[in-house]
Structures are given as structure tokens and as C-alpha cells.
Subunit: 547 residues, 2 copies
């Protein structure tokens, strides 16, 4: 049986940008667009060129997507003005967008109350906008805003709006549940009626999660005939969010009811990246990932109930609806120290550290990891720090150098020409094989200055770290209030392109950063097999008391 093609239209960068607390920079947008392209979605809606500087800049050049169609959002032309003469449309047509999705009213109440124009004028704006888009060689589509509310109020008018788009060459007319209040059985009923007049191959669905049914509504619409799905990564979006692509894609690929009937642009191999994609987006937004998220959450394949765990160990299919590996996630059994132990052993193996499971140092390491995690450390995203910790427990890491002290100064003052400036400067005192070294660094902030000073002169080890550079720096405050503990995650790279992640925790952000910076340097020396110093030094990595 030939499978039908379902198209995935991602609007993380447009409707997702409406999420309270979410602001994408141009750079964020470029990164996410590439991530989506690699995942295999068909359309990346990047924003609304002309509406704000971020989107205008993002659309100024083609982001170089390999599979996905770079798509802009926009409003249909204003009534009483020709599409060729509309400044909003002009901004879109000047952009690098290959497809344009226009929001169009399809609820008579809205046309009347919000736009204050006649129904005929509304239909004409749709027709004219779509025509102008197609004439310019772009793929045109409309988001029929409030379609379901509109259909309930005045089905003839709602249908006429869709037809104005389709009849004038729109590739898609998308049925939007803009207020998010429509329930699945209503979606089924209304879409079933719509497909009698417009083929499902020209229809899309766009749902919001205001009743927690966005995913179900989307699936109901597909079952009733639509062939384009709109959604966002992690269900970002205005109010309660949009339909969550990260839940929809695994369902479409792994559940036979859909997988047997449809083909999508994402392969089973690409599906294994979806947990990573979901968490990368959260990292970028500095949000804690939802640990209970379907398919990709840290707890999605975690079992706590004793009765479940014993059955699960006999056969995973007893308590897992899909294999965790299929979405790049992991099984977690939350029972005992025993499972903690096998966890640590698995991590050691992943780091290429060969150690006997019965070695008492494994238990010591486990105890230390538990204590540190209690303090706020997290080794999930900081494999280099974990490897250092493990190799230290096994006595494999030399104390290459000792940091005796550091000092960081941040000063805001008027400079010689009367301009208000903020200067950051750091001094670091280091001992390498008895030799005292003092270095100073400047930076655009205290951490940058500290990094500069620390990497300036490490004596005989300097050549090993010359080509290291700080790539990213992330801060998370773990508890509220002034006594908050700060966790800093640092990403470092060298010339070969290798990247590694280290972590530091302290009530003092400078201290936490220092720990992570130090780990990043020592990790590099270890990887390069830098020789141990001739005289032994005390380790310097204990978190100091703060005062």
C-alpha cells in the first residue's frame, strides 16, 4: 500500500516566539532553523519580516536550509488597497522567504469586530494577497484564523475564505483553532465536512493547547483528512502553547495506526535525534527541560512503582509503550543504590574508563557523585567534569598546577574622555613546579577576564592550552533568593573542533565559573597527556567556603 505524504510545518520561530518569557535573537533563530531542517520538517516558519528588527534581519538572507522550505508569516493586505501597493506585503516579498503564510480572518464576528470591514472585502483581501504571492513565484498559503469558531458561526463564509485562497493558487489553507477551545470530536466533525469541498491534500491544521487537546486535535484532523500539520518544538506558543511537534512526530512514526498510512519527512534515524533537539531548544532558552514531557522527558521512561519495576526487568514491553532508544531517550529505574551503581558504571564505560565493577573506588565515586548532585552539580551535560572526577577517584589525574589566589575587579567609572565605561580585570597567581606565575587579564565581564588571566601563562603547560577557547557559558540559579546556589556550565573548544563541557557550583558566580574554567583546562591537559609535574601538589579543586 502506498503511503500518503503528511507535511510538517514548524512554527517554533513564529507562533513559538509568542510564548511568554521567550525571546529569540537572530542567532537563536538561525540555530533553531538548522536544527529543524536537520530533523526533517518540511516548512520552517521563521517569523514576520517587517514586523520587528529581529525578524527583518533573520529574513534578510537565506539561512541555507537543505530540506525545509523557508517560510514567512504575514498579514493579508489591507482592505481598500491593492496587494501590489501594500507596505506589509512589500516587506515580505523583499525577504528571502520561499513560501509565505498569511493569517486570514475566517470568522465573520472577527471580520466585523476586529477588522471592521465587510465579508466581501475580507474575501477579496485573501484572494488578492494569494494572487500577488503566486505571481512573485512564492508558495502561498493561508492560516484561516479562528476557522472552527468561524465555521460554527457561519460555515458558508468560513468555507468561502478557504476557497478564495485555494482558487487563487494557495498551496495550503490551514484550519486554525486560534483560541484553542475546540475539542477533538468537533475537529473530527468539522474537518469531515470541509474535506467534502476541498481536498485534504490542500488542508492544514493548527491547534493550540488551551484545553490540553492540541496533540489530539491535530491527530483527529489528520484522521479526518488534512495533510499538513502545524506545531512547535516543545509545544511553545502563545498562552498554553501550540501542538507539540516533539510529541506528534514520534506518534506519527512509531504508532502503526499512523505509520502504516503516512510518510513524513522525518526518518526513524532522525527520530533518534528528537530528545536531543528538544533539550537543545530548552538549553538555548535557558529553560529547565520538562522532565515529564512525553517521549523526551527525563521521566518519560522512568519507573518508580516497585510492582512495575520487577515486571519491567522481566520484559520492557510490559510497561513501555515504545522503546526509549527509538526517540533517543533512556530507561530509568528509580529504585536503589544498586541502580545508581550500574548508572555510574555505564557512565565510566561511556568515558572509556576501564574499571572492575567490584573495585571499592567505584563505591567511593558513587558516594561523591551523590553528594555533589545534592549540592547542585549535574554531570548530565558536563561529561568532561565527570570524567575528571572519575579519573581523580582512580588516581589518574596529576595535579599539574596550583592556583594560589585570584582577584577579579569590575569597575564602572568615567574614562579619560568623560565616557561611562565598565572595566573588568582579573589577576591569577599560579604555581607550576615551584615556579610562581602571576597573570592579569581584561574582559567584557568578570568571567571573561578570569578566563583570560587563567589561560595566559601556565608555564610549561602553556603550549597545551594555547588553542583552547571558551565557546559557551550558561548560568542557572538553583534556588531562589540571595542565598541562591549558582551552577555554571562551560563549553570549551580547541582548534581540532573537539568540544567539552565542565561544571562548577557555588553561591558565588565567580567561584562557580572558576571551577568550571579550571576543569576545562585540566581536562585538556589530561587529554593531551601532558606530563605530570615533578613535585606533587595538593589538589586545588575543592569548592572553598564563601564569605
Amino acid at each position: 500500500m502506498t503511503k500518503e505524504r503528511l507535511y510538517l510545518f514548524d512554527t517554533t520561530l513564529r507562533d513559538g516566539a509568542q510564548t511568554q518569557g521567550v525571546d529569540f535573537s537572530v542567532e537563536d533563530k538561525r540555530l533553531i532553523a538548522k536544527l529543524l531542517d536537520k530533523l526533517g520538517v518540511d516548512y520552517v516558519e521563521g517569523g514576520y519580516p517587517g514586523a520587528n528588527p529581529t525578524d527583518t534581519n533573520f529574513f534578510a538572507e537565506d539561512p541555507g536550509l537543505k530540506h525545509a522550505v523557508f517560510t514567512s508569516f504575514g498579514m493579508t493586505k489591507r482592505a481598500g488597497r491593492s496587494a501590489d501597493n501594500d507596505p506589509g506585503l512589500a516587506a515580505i516579498f523583499e525577504s528571502a522567504a520561499k513560501a509565505c503564510c498569511f493569517v486570514a480572518k475566517s470568522w465573520d464576528f472577527h471580520v466585523d469586530v476586529a477588522l471592521g470591514i465587510t465579508k466581501e472585502e475580507n474575501i477579496e483581501t485573501i484572494a488578492d494577497t494569494v494572487r500577488a504571492t503566486v505571481e512573485r513565484g512564492r508558495e502561498a498559503m493561508i492560516d484561516a484564523e479562528h476557522f472552527f469558531d468561524g465555521y460554527k458561526a457561519n460555515p458558508e463564509f468560513a468555507m468561502a475564505c478557504l476557497k478564495a485562497a485555494i482558487d487563487n493558487g494557495a498551496r495550503w489553507a490551514v484550519l486554525c483553532d486560534t483560541n484553542g477551545g475546540t475539542l477533538p470530536h468537533e475537529i473530527t466533525r468539522i474537518v469531515s465536512e470541509v474535506v467534502k469541498e476541498i481536498p485534504g491534500e490542500r488542508l492544514g491544521i493548527h491547534c493550540h493547547n488551551d484545553t490540553e487537546n492540541a496533540v489530539a486535535n491535530t491527530l483527529a484532523a489528520v484522521n479526518a483528512g488534512v495533510r499538513q500539520i502545524q506545531g512547535t518544538l516543545n509545544g511553545l506558543g502563545e498562552r498554553c502553547g501550540n501542538a507539540n511537534m516533539v510529541s506528534l512526530i514520534p506518534t506519527l512514526l512509531l504508532k502503526p495506526e499512523f505509520a502504516d498510512r503516512f510518510e513524513i519527512g522525518v526518518s526513524l534515524d532522525q527520530l533518534k535525534e528528537i530528545t536531543h533537539v528538544s533539550r537543545t531548544l530548552d538549553e538555548l532558552l535557558n529553560r529547565a527541560p520538562d522532565r515529564y514531557a512525553p517521549y523526551v522527558g527525563e521521566s518519560a521512561f522512568a519507573s518508580k512503582a516497585g510492582i512495575h519495576v520487577s515486571a519491567l526487568l522481566k520484559d520492557p514491553a510490559t510497561y513501555e509503550h515504545v522503546p526509549p532508544e527509538s526517540v533517543g531517550n533512556k530507561r530509568r529505574v528509580l529504585i536503589s543504590d544498586q541502580s545508581g551503581r550500574s548508572n555510574v558504571l555505564a557512565q565510566l564505560e561511556a568515558a572509556g574508563i576501564d574499571v572492575d565493577a567490584k573495585d571499592p573506588r567505584v563505591q567511593q565515586l558513587l558516594d561523591e557523585v551523590k553528594e555533589r548532585e545534592y549540592l547542585g552539580y549535574s554531570y548530565d551535560g558536563a561529561e568532561a567534569s565527570f570524567e575528571l572526577l572519575a579519573r581523580r577517584a582512580l588516581g589518574e589525574v596529576p595535579d599539574y598546577f596550583t592556583v594560589d589566589s585570584f582577584r577579579v575587579l569590575v569597575e564602572r567609572r568615567y574614562n579619560a574622555v568623560g565616557k561611562l565605561v565598565t572595566v573588568s580585570e582579573a589577576t591569577v597567581k599560579v604555581r607550576v613546579e615551584g615556579q610562581k606565575l602571576i597573570s592579569v587579564g581584561e574582559g567584557n565581564g568578570p568571567i571573561n577576564a578570569l578566563d583570560e588571566a587563567l589561560r595566559k601563562d601556565l608555564g610549561r603547560y602553556q603550549s597545551y592550552i594555547d588553542e583552547m577557547r571558551l565557546v559557551d557559558f550558561k548560568v542557572r540559579i538553583l534556588t531562589g533568593g540571595t542565598e541562591a546556589v549558582t551552577r555554571v556550565l562551560i563549553e570549551t573548544a580547541d582548534k581540532s573542533g573537539e568540544r567539552w563541557f565542565t561544571v562548577g557550583v557555588s553561591p558565588n558566580i565567580v567561584d562557580a565559573s572558576f571551577q568550571a574554567l579550571l576543569d576545562s583546562i585540566i581536562y585538556k591537559l589530561m587529554r593531551e597527556n601532558a606530563p605530570a609535574p615533578e613535585t606533587k601538589r595538593k589538589p586545588t579543586l575543592k569548592a572553598p567556603a564563601s564569605s
Copy 2:
């Protein structure tokens, strides 16, 4: 038309306790049981007496529920042993539970792999357990574990398990989607078949959220005939959670498709408490409430898109699927990059700032907001900084004082007793009405020290800010790399309990924090109507160049 009764069975205290990271004390359980009773649910499943000390203690006495039936969870008796002689059942029958819900296998694969008994033995354990419960005057019901997987594999056996319960006097047989992998259309199909043999008035539904369809699956089961709904507050539960009662209850009461056909134990008045109930549970668990939660989330009725806001102001029904007051929630209009003029006007109104929409300063303010958001500012969660910006644009904020310079020092060194310590110290130079003031502060980190110094001596303004304190401090790095821009969001409170949020952005984290700290002080002075200084000063709030 007479409405049919739908029963709500809450399992927050039993299945919800399986949530990773959730541990209820006996006291927690008492509090939540009362909260649920007041909300109007019909059954409160409190736990599994005999399985652990918390649950045994909780079930030792009647929690005094007024409406809800106090219900225990338990396992059916062991095969090969009489129900009268089963220690697990004995603990349940000794408890204060008025109803008992027994988990029973209904998937032949599980009976075989997990229990290792015959199908006939399984059916006998169900029948005997239910009989023993009814004999003791308790209401009996079963959770038919893995019912949907079981029905797909062997419908006769799955049905025989349900009938063994119903035929022996169980009030309810509950169809459980234990692994959470069943999709809505499958629920519809299977429940429609089940109700041909067992009346829907004796059937319940218990769904998990592993495909993000728990709410939809529950509604599908009700539409297909079941009359008991199981779920948890805030969708707590193992893995991805159970069906979310907090989403289901408003839908059942506010959406005509359900409200016209069904009656539940929760009234429209009680519904107004549901936002409070949801947040109280999070408070108890020390979890941040999900701001994007349907109906009850802080963002559930928040609008950011300019085109939405202007229509919303004309008529809320244009963009709200239900009135926020109906669930005890509030409408919110957000400021952002996307925002148009009407957004800014709404925010000005919310801040109590009276200004003519045609005032050219409104456009200036909008331009400034957009420019600042491009630089990385976000006024979404920083209403106090927005209000300051707006009132400054209107010339309403005096320059109370000037910060001439500040200096922050972070030093790690060995102290007098040879202990490694990190010391943070800040010095701030301020001018108030020509008077030069210099203050120094210490803290557990640079920001804390700066905050201490800045609030130490503001001359004549000191009394206004004496009772301010920093409550929370959030850091977000906006672009990767060392040249990253840092956004700091600060929450401040005073003695009256008022809280306000301010924002600062800079490549330098100390600078960004300084801006937010300064805003928080000036906001407080403004709110307190502190008198303007007698001599005018230049504004001090421009972000300085960094070097």
C-alpha cells in the same frame, strides 16, 4: 433533558505519588484530601494501606471528607490463597477506607510474564477479592491494568476480567491505559465495543499522558460511554503523568458539548477555586507552577501578539475560549518585540498610567521598547522596569540620585587560619542633592555585595528603601560565546509583601545586575512618592559601553 451523572475519581495521592520527585507526607495527604473534597470530586484515592508507613498512617483514621468517598488502592489477593486469608487485603480491610480499588491484570501477556499464573486463576483472584470487599460493606472497584493493550491482544480474556468484577458486585470496572500508549481513536473504538456488554454506568477510564493524549483519551471514553473519570491534580503521575483533572474539570463544566449532557460534583462556583487548588498543590510540593498550563497557568490568558491584543481589547470573546474568571484566573497583556501600539497602551493602562493614545510619546515609547528588546531586554516578566521606562518617557520620574562609579572585587585567597575563602566586596559612590556618599558592602557573590553597598546609604532616600530585599535573581545568556550578552531579572520585595520585577542587559553580568538593582530602587522611590531632589541631575540609567 435530564443530565447524566459523571463521577470524578482523583488519584493524586496514589498514582500521583509515583511522580519522579514527588513525596507526600501524611500531613500533605490530609491537606490535599481536604482540598479535593472541597473542590467536589467524588472519590479520593489516598494510597495503598499496608504498602508503606505513610499510607498505613494516613488510612488509620478517617480524614473527615464531606463529599468525597475515601478510597484505598490495593492489589487483588494472591492466587492460590483465599481472600479472607490474604495479608495485603487484611491491611486494606482494617483501614478507614470506604471504597477499595484493586489493580487487576487484564492483559494475558502480563498474567503470563509478570504474574506467572493461568488466566483462570487471574479471573478467580478478581472475583474473590471483589466478593470479600463487598461482604465487608465496602464499595469495590477494579483498575483493569493494561486494559487496552489486553483487549487488542485477547478481547475475550480482557472482557472476562471486567465481568468477573462486575458480576461479583463491583461498583466500577475501570479501563486503564497503563502504559499510556493508546491513541484517542482506539479508545473510542474499544470503549464502544465494551459498552455493548457492560453498561457505561459501571465503567471508568484511567489514562496516562505518554503520547500527550491523556485528556483527549478521557474525553473520548466519556463520549463512548464510560461514566467515571480517573485523574490527578496538575497531571501528576508516573512517567509523563495521569490525565489532568485540572484541565478536565473546566472542560466538563464550561464546554456545552459536555456541560449540556453531564452533571459532575463540582459546581460553577467551586470551579472558580481550581486555579487556587492547582497552585496550592505546587506550593506544597515546592514546584514552580507550570505557567503554560491550560486554564490555570499564569500565561493561559496572556496575549503577546499585537494583532491579537487590539482585537482582545475590543471584545475578549475574540481571543478567549472561556472567561478567565470562570476558573479563577486572570487576563494578562504582555509587552514584547511583537507588540503593537495597542499592547503598549494596554500595559500603560494596567500600570495605571493615563495617556492619550494619540500622544506622540506613546510612539516614542513603543520605538524604545522595540529597540531595547532587540538589544536583549525583555519586559515580559519585568513590569516595574517597563513602568519606569514609560513614566520616564512621560517625564514623570525624577533623577533622585546619581551613581558616579562602583567597583566590585572578588578575591579567592587563603585566610588567616589557612582556609581557602572567596570574598566579594563592592564600593559604590553616589551623589544625592550634591552630597557625595560612599558605601561598601560584602556579600556571598559580586551581585549580592553590590546590592548591599547600593542600598546602604542613599541619604534622604534611605528610609524609603530600608525594607526592600532581593528575593530572586535570574540570569540568562542571550548569545553563545564569550561575547554573550547577559540578561538579569531581579525580583524585589518589601515588608508589605509587594513584589516587583526589574531587568538589566549588558555584556557584563555585573553591569546588567547593576541596572536591574538600580531600577528596583528607583521603582520603589517612585511608588512611595519620594520627593524629587532640589537640583536636577542627569539620568544615570543608560547602559554604558563595556571595555
